[in-house]
Amino acid sequence: MAEKSRTLFEKVWESHLVAEPANEPALLYIDLHLVHEVTSPQAFEGLRLSGRKLRRPDRTVATIDHNVPTTLEGRVNIQDVIAAKQIDTLRKNCAEFGVTLYDIQSAEQGIVHVIGPELGITKPGMTIVCGDSHTSTHGAFGALAFGIGTSEVEHVMATQCLPQSRPKTFRIAVEGELPEGVTAKDVTLGIIGRIGTDGATGCVIEYAGSAIRALSMEGRMTVCNMSIEAGARAGMIAPDDTTFAYLKGLEFSPEGADWDKAVAEWRELPSDPGATYDRELVIPAIELAPYVTWGTNPGMVIAVTDVVPDPAAAESDSDRRGFERALEYMDLKAGTPIEEVVIDRVFIGSCTNSRIEDLRAAAKVVAGHRVNARVRAMVVPGSQKVKAQAESEGLDQIFRAAGFEWREPGCSMCLGMNPDILSPGERCASTSNRNFEGRQGQGGRTHLVSPMMAAAAAITGHFTDVRTWEFKKEEVLA
């Protein structure tokens, strides 16, 4: 009898089931636990208080990203004593429990969701968790990766597994060729705009379709990264030749005969023909455009050529009130073309858009131009390796020459736990993932865009359709 057709998610899920007790959540084995300074101290302390050991230090990897300043001086002597203590606590905990730590001065330091993939620690078919909701990023490799709270961090430390109720499956296919100027960021903003910030609650999304398969690994990571902004537990993309080409030769990738064996196993992971999902959605790529969020959650999004919408269009009274509140917070009026909205700040960075391809795309827009006089713009590479690569390609020179600040790696102004924050009332074009009230600084106003759109806004001082952009040659800078 033929075996049942299974989805990518089902294959990964079923191969990690430790136990399936009756009337209880399944016990899911965790292959890789990523740790950072903010959500781990209470978990390590919990282990100590209960006298439990860290079960698998070799499956645990730590870095410092959320709190760390992005200036060289700031990193050597961290002025924020509470942040410094939290960072130091991670160092002590990693030493005590034998966890590999990519510390601030390490050549591999960076945002946890950037370094896992670029070092080859993240691999297809794995289960990966981290005390950070954007852990969904790693699903780009065909891993089942999801964010957890600190109690669960402690649970994984103690047991290397987690009780999990089985999520539903949701296939989202983007079919066709993405129009010029429409990036992976626009794909994810377009999806969230359609299904809402709770559109995938309780689900693992599998992204599929020709537009997704045509994306680079960087683009796939951007799409999976924002799965959580649609409420999803995780996002996954089937591994293919693009995945294998990215992984080959990385520090922790297998070599020689092992590599061939690994690839053969990974080729078994994609969903079988005939596999079924709880929900499905097909989006024609041609319908997507460069997007700008106008409100205070990522679902409040419009094409760059659109106007700020009218609250009267909201589906319910409570939605309408949320809508009005968002307009008030963002200081925007319904009917205003979003292209007319002027900005004060630009942030290119975060686990969503700080990889080499993002920086290349932004630099291409910036080359030959100057940052608008009213705008303060910064680029924060996702990792030391991304920064070094960008510098070897001269991208830092393009950004600096245009008037951008070129910073050291970290989460930075995505959530403003370090000194990089907006002042009250400041408006920012940001390549990050959340435009919540106060996310980038109390009273700050965040508009989510792609790296190309952020770069164009930095130059013109207002949101600008990158499809109309004049690409100048770099030489004019010399």
Partner: protein, 210 residues
């Protein structure tokens, strides 16, 4: 973990959709390494508005929070659950909750009750308009009742219910499967030979830091 059986308490109505964990506890309070002391920072930015519900004396001492859909969305920070719990909330009622917050609340003895939007709207209206409004939430009966005849039953995952009723520690529960875990892990380490493994060597910058 503190157990939850039946609670009768005042009600704080928070008629807002998509209340994210950045609002429940802003990032500047995530730098602390303690697990307690977050209550005073609950809804820190919103509390600056004197008209914000948490500042209204009529809701003082409320242990039940009622909110609109998709409560707890966004960041995985368990600090949001700690802040609610430290402040004194033991139960949140809403039409829907975000997944990670749902899990975090359970680990901290906070009962999340999902009711249909119309019923939640009734509770929001009554809490705002009725003096000394209170609700009785029974996890044993899986019901929510008020003195004006409101009565609704809710469903909850039976395992989550047992954990809350008995105040069970999740780690201890998982370790009932220690034997299965050992067996699984041995086979898995062999079968998933390619899985992690970062070198044991420490990549620290301690020299540079010192």
């Amino acid at each position: 973990m503190q157990s939850f059986r039946t609670l009768t308490s005042g009600v704080l109505p928070l008629d807002r959709v998509n209340v994210d964990t950045d609002q429940i506890i802003p990032k500047q309070f995530l730098k602390r390494i303690e697990r307690t002391g977050y209550g005073e920072f609950l809804f820190f930015d919103w509390r600056k508005d004197p008209a914000f519900e948490l500042n209204n004396p009529r809701y003082k001492g409320a242990q039940i929070l009622v909110a609109a859909k998709n409560f707890g969305c966004g960041s995985s920070r368990e600090h949001a659950a700690w802040a609610l719990s430290n402040y004194g909330f033991r139960c949140v009622i809403a039409p829907s909750f975000a997944d990670i917050f749902h899990s975090n609340a359970g680990k901290n003895g906070i009962l999340l009750v999902t009711l249909p939007e119309e019923q939640v709207q009734t509770l929001l209206d009554r809490a705002a308009k009725t003096d000394s409004y209170s609700l009785t939430v029974s996890l044993e009966d899986q019901t929510v009742r008020d003195a004006q005849g409101f009565s609704a039953s809710f469903s909850i995952d039976p395992f989550r219910r047992d954990c809350l009723l008995q105040g069970l520690d999740d780690i201890a529960l998982s370790l009932r499967h220690a034997g299965e875990l050992d067996t699984f892990e041995q086979q898995h380490d062999a079968a998933f030979w390619v899985a992690p493994k970062p070198h044991a060597a420490q990549h620290t910058g301690e020299a540079a830091q010192a």
